[in-house]
């Protein structure tokens, strides 16, 4: 328990100490909100779907968590390159504890970052149903934070350097985001896209946050929680296995 705590604490300290990165990471969500939110809002409202900013904001929050969680997870690659991972690997702690500590650290960082974006989008014009909805939303924010941090950690345990980083961005992070229903409603999609969004775990996270804030789930609260919890369990098991195989 103390092992997991100290690993978690290290991630948090590293995060807080890089203020420029915290601010920098707000840039992309803001850009999406301005360009897409304001750019598409007129046609979106004309189509009778309501306010696009309100629709998009949960997606932007989910995006922030996805990106931050995967990046923080992949910090292990830096630990490998700068040698710090060895220090952890020769210590008398199980690999699963290391994996769990890293995952929870990354999740916490991404949740904080997601909440910062929530504050920003609220300032810009996002209007949640009620203050109470924040609790349910926070629950989903936590689930996707843990899920993608675990996935990032797992991927990183297999990679030795940052060369593969563009691969992660282009083939994992961006498809997860763009094909998730973060940007568009899920009803009446072409079958192929509909299928992809259904197998994308982020879809359930976005729907969860959006449902919590707006009161209208596409799936249901229970479905979202069940799918995300299942994915977390799988990610942790695969991650623990990958971690147990790391050799220095």
């Amino acid at each position: 328990m103390r092992t997991i705590y100290i690993l978690w604490l290290r991630q948090i300290k590293r995060y807080i100490r890089k203020r420029s990165r915290i601010v920098g990471a707000l840039g992309q969500p803001l850009l999406f909100l301005f360009a897409l939110g304001y750019g598409l809002n007129p046609i979106y409202s004309q189509a009778g779907e309501g306010d696009y900013i309100n629709f998009l904001s949960p997606g932007i929050i989910a995006m922030t968590i996805l990106f931050t969680a995967i990046f923080t997870g992949t910090e292990i690659i830096w630990d490998k390159q700068f040698g710090f991972l060895k220090e952890t690997l020769v210590a008398p702690v199980s690999r699963f504890q290391i994996m769990l500590g890293k995952t929870l650290g990354g999740a916490t960082v991404s949740i904080i970052q997601g909440l910062l974006v929530l504050v920003v989008v609220t300032l810009v014009g996002f209007r949640p149903e009620s203050a109470m909805s924040l609790i349910a939303a926070l629950f989903f924010v936590t689930l996707i934070g843990v899920l993608f941090s675990a996935i990032g950690t797992t991927i990183a345990s297999r990679l030795d350097d940052m060369q593969a980083f563009p691969l992660i961005i282009n083939f994992i992070v961006q498809p997860l985001f763009f094909l998730s229903g973060a940007l568009f409603p899920l009803n009446n999609l072409p079958p192929a896209l509909s299928f992809i969004t259904t197998v994308n775990p982020l879809t359930y996270g976005v729907d969860g946050i959006r449902g919590a804030f707006t009161g209208a789930y596409y799936f249901s609260f229970t479905t979202n929680v069940a799918v995300l919890s299942f994915c977390i369990a799988v990610a942790l098991i695969v991650g623990a296995y990958q971690f147990s195989r790391i050799q220095a």
Binding site: R2, I6, F84, A91, Q247
Partner: protein, 261 residues
């Protein structure tokens, strides 16, 4: 304290360590000497549980290295060949992180950390970020960290690489002192023959994954009929210049790393 029996490590077709056997007694300072790529670091990695041997048996502090890895890990401290500190944390935080991983309570580690920081002359830099440290300071901090949990065995894998003579002298003085006072068994590798000659009680010369010769420095000089350990070493391992597999210039890179980072 360390017992290695017929250990072999193969990477594909390449045999890095070839049926190696040796013993290190309690309280001894034991040195591995060998050209680049001889299998020194690979052996240390296997002894420190981060690399699994292809075959053979190893025991450390009475524990089987492949079976009781947790007990083995508690028994040794290590200073790696390459830097392994977190630059974004302070000196104290790096040590605290280590202490907690080794299951120490605050009451156990708080004073110990301060003692060790004074021992390596870093007490006044306790709360400075490691990224602002020089190569020598980082090495000293790593030594303090390696000793924090009171290990029985201390592994030093080329600990003086890229350090200036002053820091090297200081570092070996600590190590000798420690070995004498606390009876810590030291397993070291180095390319600096003079250091090895001064510090090590016993030396094993290793090449192509095998031990060619072992004994005290004077034994080795006597056997080869040379006057210095360096001449004896070259006599035993040949004049041919080695490159590490697929890692030409890795040492240079390591040195650069240390100078820069």
């Amino acid at each position: 304290m360390i017992k290695v029996e017929n250990i072999t490590k193969k990477f594909g077709k390449f045999t890095a360590v070839d049926n190696l056997s040796f013993e290190v007694k309690e309280g001894e300072v034991f040195a591995f000497l060998g050209p680049n790529g001889a299998g020194k670091t690979t052996t240390i990695k296997m002894l420190t549980t981060v690399l699994r041997p292809t075959s053979g048996r190893m025991a450390l502090n009475g524990f089987d290295v492949s079976k009781d890895s947790s007990d083995v890990r508690k028994s040794f401290g290590i200073v790696f060949q390459d830097p392994s500190l977190d630059n974004e944390l302070t000196a104290y935080e790096n040590l605290q992180f280590h202490a907690v991983l080794y299951g120490m309570r605050r009451s156990e580690y708080a004073d110990r950390i301060d003692d060790l920081l004074s021992l390596v002359n870093l007490a006044d830099r306790r709360n400075s970020y490691v990224k602002n440290f020089s190569g020598g300071m980082k090495r000293r901090l790593e030594i303090a960290r390696g000793l924090l949990h009171k290990p029985k065995v201390l592994f030093l894998d080329e600990p003086t690489l890229g350090l200036d003579p002053q820091t090297r002298r200081l570092l070996w003085d600590y190590v000798k002192n420690l070995n004498k006072k606390e009876g810590v068994t030291v397993f070291m590798t180095s390319h600096h023959m003079d250091e090895v000659e001064k510090v090590a009680h016993r030396i094993a010369i290793i090449d192509h994954g095998k031990i060619i010769e072992q004994g005290t420095a004077s034994d080795l000089m006597k056997k080869t009929g040379k006057n210095t350990l360096e001449d004896a070493f070259i006599e035993l391992t040949g004049y041919e210049v080695r490159e590490e597999e697929a890692n030409i210039g890795l040492n240079q890179m390591r040195i650069n790393n240390k100078l820069m980072g």
